[in-house]
Symmetry: C2
Subunit: 345 residues, 2 copies
């Protein structure tokens, strides 16, 4: 017997659209393997309209709307005026996907979306790291209380498995330290500055290639890396911290001369995320550090990222993600959905 699994998507940006394409591609395979017919019954966006159709939204049509109109066609029969919170609160669904843009200083309104879903006994997946950086412990407890599943694998390294790796393969290991290069913008900028380019050229090239935001301040000042560090410390070390508690220094004051001076001593400057236990307290930092050319981290180039997880029983384990594209984020969300399917009652 085939069971219908109804999902709502809050947000339909690049990652949401890539997820929709992947779902279209794998829909029948999932149906065959798990006996679930996945249907997207609602999609909300901030400024492109919303869609609601309890029989399942036509994703092909929706993707071509975005391509042709850059918004949803208001003449569609499934066009809706409901906003994100109204969809979370009123629509009948099984799984909510929080794919809205992050507010790095509050985690809202994504936190409230997820709370509402749990309070209604629904499952939640978030690709928005705000809720995990700001309210992980509270959300985790609420999900348990309500018997809701809660997954967030894409919040740090797109689809690269970190949380599932630790949960599924490092049981009984205690995480004692975390290191990483987790912000692609700063990694790219530092590398290109070292190659002799000037800052403005590097930023405009990054924007053209699509991975530097219109306003790159959140990346350059280390806020994105601080949020990811908070996520790692909250999930893997039980820190119950927030981005503002991470000891943060961006790369905005790094000068060409600093980079050249480091290079003359065989070093490279990288923005390093770090978490460890000091005097019984879990502390996190994001800071530019000089990395030796013999260090693995010196060869994390461009938009690649890396995390090293140190544990008592398995020592250090390093995972590298190479030049991720939006399809990897889509796979991460897809993987979380598969986890819901496997663990649903």
């Amino acid at each position: 017997m085939i069971t219908k699994l109804k999902i709502v998507m809050l947000g339909f940006g690049d990652a949401g659209q890539a997820f929709a394409r992947l779902l279209l591609e794998k829909h029948n395979e999932i149906r065959e393997k798990y006996k679930y017919d996945i249907q997207v019954v609602a999609i909300s966006t901030g400024s492109r309209g919303s869609l609601v159709d309890m029989d399942g939204i036509d994703l092909n049509l929706t993707l071509s709307n975005m391509k042709e109109l850059n918004k949803f066609d208001q003449n569609r029969k499934d066009f809706s005026k409901l906003n994100s919170m109204e969809i979370v609160e009123k629509v009948d669904y099984d799984v909510m996907m929080e794919l809205t843009p992050i507010n790095i200083f509050t985690g809202q309104p994504a936190i409230d979306h997820i709370k509402m879903a749990f309070n209604r006994g629904k499952h939640a997946i978030t690709a928005n790291k705000g809720p995990i950086a700001w309210a992980f412990e509270e959300l985790q407890e609420l999900s348990k209380e309500k018997n809701s599943l809660f997954y967030y694998e894409t919040t740090v390294m797109d689809g690269t498995p970190i949380f599932n790796l630790v949960e599924k393969t490092l049981e009984f290991c205690k995480v004692t330290e975390i290191n990483g290069i987790l912000n692609s913008t700063t990694n790219f900028v530092l590398e290109e500055l070292a190659n002799g380019k000037d800052y403005d050229t590097v930023i405009s090239e990054g924007k053209e290639r699509g991975f530097i935001e219109a306003d790159p301040a959140m990346d350059i000042e280390g806020w994105d890396a601080a949020a990811k560090t908070a996520v790692l410390l909250n999930v893997l070390m039980g820190a119950n911290t927030t981005p503002v508690e991470i000891d943060r220094m961006g790369i905005e004051n790094i000068k060409r001369e600093d980079i050249e001076d480091a290079a003359n001593r065989g070093k490279q400057i990288k923005l390093i995320c770090h978490g460890s236990i000091e005097n019984g307290k879990i502390v996190g930092s994001v800071k530019p550090k000089e990395i030796d050319k013999d260090d693995l981290y010196s060869n994390i180039k461009g938009t690649s990222s890396v995390v090293t997880i140190s544990t008592d029983l398995m020592k250090d384990l390093t995972i590298v993600e190479h030049d991720p594209e939006i399809e990897q984020t889509a796979y991460g969300i897809f993987g979380d959905l598969l986890r819901v399917i496997r663990n649903i009652n």
Copy 2:
């Protein structure tokens, strides 16, 4: 209610002893979490005697026997004359651990041990890569037929999760290519030769530090790497290949001048394991290759190892294990035992 889980260990070398120590440390935690009381009811060795005790062998005493006598005390009441195959065939147990030394050219007698366990409806864990390199498909099918669980996480990178990573976190991904540096002896030798040491000095230093075998030929000639490559291709790509089918070239003919010549061009020579699909056929190779200094692989130093798994949906994912010690292998076996516990029945 607490259920007794009876295990037999074939082999009690460094990894077996480290596993016994870890089991002693975590026994009560497992009992509390999973309600299983793990008891080692038999241990066999090639030349140090065997032990059988259905009430559970005293592991502390056994470890001190090894430390003090380098064999089992023949006056112990649990001392036994049964050999490995007799233990697999006759003792009452739930899980067999195959920890005997590998025969790289046949995979035997480990393959027969595992077959016997499955034919008796028992579960099996192997840290011996021979069976996976030589007979994976057959053993996998037999385990399914007999409803036996079969785990082998330590066979390629000690405790580093590779197979579980792919199974648990990369579902629906098709593995299209594999690369790696998987033999620590050759990696260490090539690095030390590049540092200007001569071959004999390097080998004797490695022997002193305990990670180069008395006869290093299997490592130097690439056989160990070929067996690991066969394991990866069999498990992750369904290749049904064997070590002799891997296109293998060791480092025995690499001269100091080759290394210096590469260094002059900014390159390092590393022994690279590779698997890919060519004309619809899965092919594997082990060969010394020149690696650029900007390549991540150039910074895999000493006894560290690395594997990169390329898939259709998640692109390339790299995992690095840093300077593993015997405790990491022990954790790998322990992790496989936890998987048995979670998936039993």
